[in-house]
């Protein structure tokens, strides 16, 4: 069971990251973390995530699991776990004006969009190519759409977003095409207060 001192350290680190979460929330999430950690070695592997049944019926389940693991690694500790979850915290109004010189908190609009962007961009080349978009589309769509139809949807989507004509979507183009979407609301879970 989570020893108190480690949750306090994590709490402090998260506060430094700009992720202000209450102590009780951390304790709760820590107990969730340990319940997922079947190997009881303080880290989660991909299999631990895959053991959550609802993720198996989520079209983007595996991609999101991936998002928890930093580049090239196979284990994630509690710090990393919280780091990823931090993206989903609602943006508080009073925080918006807090400290312009501090580094941007993880749950800012840009960082949320970056998280979403990296779901598509697996090879981390800062561009969503047509293939990458197709992959994600295919995951989200039923089997009744043929490859050609899906391809044309992907093409049109890229057309809408692409501004510099390289037939792929860069992060800035991604931000621009979603500027009217209320990202703060759509990517926030209220319990992370």
């Amino acid at each position: 069971s989570g020893s108190n001192f480690s949750t306090i350290t994590v709490c402090r680190e998260l506060h430094e990251m700009g992720f202000h979460v209450s102590h009780s929330q951390i304790t709760r999430l820590y107990s969730r973390f340990t319940s997922l950690d079947k190997g009881e070695n303080g880290t989660l592997s991909r299999e631990d995530f895959q053991r959550i049944p609802e993720l198996a019926i989520n079209p983007l389940g595996d991609r999101i699991i991936n998002a928890f693991f930093p580049e090239g690694e196979d284990q994630v500790n509690f710090r990393g776990f919280m780091r990823t979850l931090a993206h989903f915290r609602p943006i508080e109004d009073n925080e918006k004006n807090k400290d312009p010189t501090a580094s941007e908190p993880l749950n800012s609009r840009t960082n949320k969009l970056l998280f979403a962007f990296q779901l598509y961009d697996l090879d981390r080349d800062d561009k969503i190519s047509r293939d990458e978009l197709l992959q994600v589309l295919r995951m989200m769509v039923g089997v009744n759409i043929s490859d050609e139809q899906l391809g044309s949807i992907a093409d049109r989507t890229i057309q809408e977003a692409d501004q510099n004509g390289d037939n792929s979507i860069s992060f800035n183009e991604f931000i621009k095409v979603l500027e009217k979407v209320d990202v703060e609301q759509k990517m926030s879970i209220r319990f992370l207060h």
């Binding site: 969730r32 009881e40 049944p53 079209p59 999101i64 009744n144 949807i153 989507t157 990517m187 209220r190």
Partner: protein, 743 residues
């Protein structure tokens, strides 16, 4: 076109024939009634048409024995007439999309009432309270309870209760007091009435009616939260209505002088008793039903009967104990749905669902037709302009004020606030219906001198809300939505991304193990799993209760083989040959912002958007959107979606395991994993694995991979009985062995 005219003609001829028969029947009945013939009913007398006495001159080959069958015949005939009216109403879809069905049925009721009145010079058929409350209303409410989306209902329970209790009390008080004030001011002329009677009238006219609400909201599709608010309110406010009605009725009988603090306190206490008592009765009957269905494995043919009988009994029992009968039957339906659906055979479940809809639909039709017929009765018509107009004004205005006030308070505590347009729809959708009429018809004429005035007013209020508000609801909503939306068309990218966000949120919620406020929900869930399911569900039902297990169960040999083949072969997505379009009930008006974009001109663009709209997986947030509908049964298309996603996920995980088979020796890891677990059930399950582990320890990394795949597939942490299905799983395992050996 010809077909349609034929149907029209058929309908009208049938119609007139039945009506004529009814009229003749009543005429015969009336003339017969004037001849006092002792013991006519049920006896085998032969009756000549003119009542010629009892001497028979010879053997009658055929006789007309009307009295013999009068009562059941009339009942059956009226049900038939109601059914035919519904058919007539449904003939023209353009009409029904403008005017809601309930309004059209009332109009037909007027016509029928006119015919009968013309034939009989009095209204022989009216909606009597007994028939309404005992034979027509229970089915409708049971249907509402059984198909209630529980999760949605209970997560919004707080708000629903606020509207139902406080809102109804507010409505009753303001309408009653307002009318009293105006009466004192002389706006109504000289009528024999008092404060208490006004309050009583206010309490019975204040309640939102579930039958009317469903009927109108069928056409106007609103978002789920809004729907459950109005719907839940209409169901739960019965507790308040019953109490207020009984309390004020008693007060009127006592007379104003006897009312003191004690009586008022008794009234308040009676509210709690009635409400909670009614719900308790319903829950007890739900338990009974669940237990019964648990034991009916061998006599599945009777199962559906139990549901209906016990549901009806719960209604009558609560009525007998002077508790809230509607609350009782609602909670009976709500609490038993999950267990009986799990316990009963599939065919029984389908039967219950379908019969429930048939009965509810039939009842609703009859109710509305009779609401129309009951109006054509000059004996009850008393016109008092002031009273009627003021009532209409007050219920309308005070409803708006009440809803906005309560919502303003509620929004401070709600996670997702209710918006302006939602509030407008909620206020405007507060329809009054047959329950108010039933209550007012039950009033005692001796105590309430102005009963007829109240009856007429109630009828007018019902017609106003059901017809006028029903007809104008859709245009109002469209206008508001368009005004509010002013939306630019969403681009494809935005649509895709919105759906991505949905899936992301759901996944993060599942990973972090939290959905909204859930400490209570977790506790309830645990309690339910440990005790209730064990008690109320058949053992076999418990095992297959878990959604995922269900789907995994459906992995048959063919599926397993196809996975395996696809791992080896290149991926080929199944081509769609024609439009295997999952039928999408396109709502006519929809308050969901991103659903319909009808102004797309460019056809190619439209195609892409259309395709996306139809084929994007809906994700759990939207799957939970239960469109409660009186006439449509939900088909299980969500299961297809879920199965597809599950198969695809498993396939890709399989691939990654297979590709990782080279460098990993996971067998050792698995053993330690298993031993560390201390849950007894899991140990039981592992017994089936150990033979494999022993026989082939480390030489087959693939098996090791498969093992860990299996633990991740089957080591689901949800159900306590992690019983593994050896059959299908071993099958899979054998197939892998085969592949491995063949390579």
């Amino acid at each position: 076109m010809a077909c349609r005219t034929c149907l029209w003609l058929l309908g009208t001829t049938f119609f007139t024939c039945t009506v004529r028969l009814v009229v003749e029947g009543t005429e015969v009945g009336a003339t017969q009634g004037s001849h006092p013939e002792p013991g006519v009913v049920g006896s085998n007398h032969s009756q000549a048409g003119g009542g010629h006495g009892s001497s028979i001159s010879g053997i009658q080959i055929v006789t007309f024995k009307w009295h013999h069958v009068e009562a059941p015949y009339l009942i059956a005939l009226w049900i038939l007439v109601a059914g035919v009216s519904k058919m007539v109403v449904e003939l023209n879809h353009n009409l029904t999309s403008v005017i809601p069905e309930s309004a059209l049925l009332i109009i037909i009721g007027w016509i029928l009432g006119g015919i009968i009145y013309g034939a009989d010079k009095m209204q022989t058929f009216t909606l009597t309270p007994t028939v309404f409350f005992f034979y027509l209303l229970p089915q409708v409410i049971l249907d509402a309870g059984y198909f209630m989306p529980n999760k949605l209902f209970f997560s919004n329970m707080g708000a629903i209760l606020v509207y139902a209790v406080i809102g109804t009390c507010w409505n009753a008080a303001t309408v009653g007091l307002g009318l009293w004030g105006c009466w004192l001011g002389g706006a109504m002329g000289d009528i024999d009435i008092g404060l208490l009677q006004f309050l009583l009238f206010g309490s019975l006219i204040a309640a939102v009616d579930p039958v009317a609400v469903i009927a109108v909201f069928e056409e106007v599709h609103v978002n789920e939260v809004l729907f459950i608010m109005v719907f839940g309110e209409s169901l739960l406010n019965d507790g308040v209505t019953v109490v207020l009605f009984n309390v004020f009725d008693a007060f009127v009988s006592l007379g104003g002088a006897e009312i003191d603090a004690v009586e008022i306190i008794k009234g308040i206490i009676s509210f709690f008793v009635v409400a909670f008592g009614g719900s308790l009765v319903g829950i007890i009957f739900a338990l009974l039903i669940s237990l019964l269905t648990r034991c009916t494995k061998n006599i599945q043919i009777i199962e559906p009967g139990f549901i209906f009988i016990l549901g009806y009994l719960s209604y009558l029992t609560a009525e007998m104990l002077s508790l809230s009968a509607i609350l009782s039957i609602v909670f009976c339906g709500i609490c038993c749905q999950k267990y009986i659906n799990a316990n009963m055979d599939e065919r029984s479940v389908t039967t219950v669902r379908y019969v429930m809809k048939v009965l509810a639909n039939g009842s609703e039709t009859i109710i509305f037709v009779f609401l129309g017929i009951s109006a054509i009765d000059p004996a009850v018509w008393v016109w008092n302009t002031g009273f009627i107009l003021l009532t209409l004004l007050f219920i309308f205005v005070f409803r708006f004020i009440g809803v906005f006030l309560l919502t303003w308070i509620l929004n401070k505590y709600r996670l997702v606030p209710l918006e302006f347009i939602d509030q407008v729809v909620m206020s405007y959708g507060g329809l009054r219906g047959a329950v108010a009429y039933g209550l007012v018809a039950m009033l005692d004429e001796n105590k309430f001198k102005e009963k007829n005035l109240m009856v007429s007013t109630t009828l007018i209020v019902v017609y106003f809300t059901v017809m006028l508000q029903g007809i104008t609801m859709k245009p109002l909503v469209t206008w508001l939505k368009v005004k509010r939306a002013a939306v630019t068309e969403l681009t494809l990218a935005e649509k895709i991304q919105n759906r991505t966000f949905d899936h992301m949120l759901v996944a993060i919620e599942d990973i972090s193990g939290q959905i909204g406020h859930n400490y209570m929900r977790d506790k309830w869930h645990n309690f339910e799993e440990r005790w209730l399911c064990w008690f109320l569900m058949k053992p076999s039902a418990r095992k297959s209760r878990d959604y995922i297990f269900n789907i995994f169960h459906q992995l048959n040999l063919k599926d397993a083989m196809s996975y395996v083949k696809e791992v080896r072969a290149t991926h080929k997505v199944r081509e769609s040959h024609d439009n295997l379009i999952l039928q999408d009930i396109v709502p006519s008006v929809c308050l969901d912002m991103h659903e319909q974009d009808l102004t797309m001109r460019e056809s190619e663009d439209f195609n892409a958007h259309h395709l996306l709209q139809q084929h994007l997986y809906r994700g759990r947030k939207q799957v939970l959107k239960h469109r409660y509908s009186r006439s449509h049964l939900e088909t299980n298309r969500d299961e297809n979606e879920v199965q597809e996603i599950f198969q695809r996920t498993m396939r890709s995980r399989l691939e990654s395991f297979k590709s990782a088979k080279m460098g990993v020796a996971p067998a050792k890891k698995i053993q330690t994993k298993h031993q560390k677990k201390d849950k007894p059930q899991k140990v039981r399950g592992e017994g089936t694995f150990s033979p494999f582990l022993h026989v082939r320890p480390h030489s087959h990394p693939l098996i090791g991979n498969v093992m860990s795949l299996s633990t991740s597939l089957l080591g689901f942490e949800t159900t306590s009985t992690a019983t593994i299905f050896p059959l299908s799983f071993n099958l899979l395992l054998n197939l892998f062995l085969q592949i491995d050996q063949s390579q």
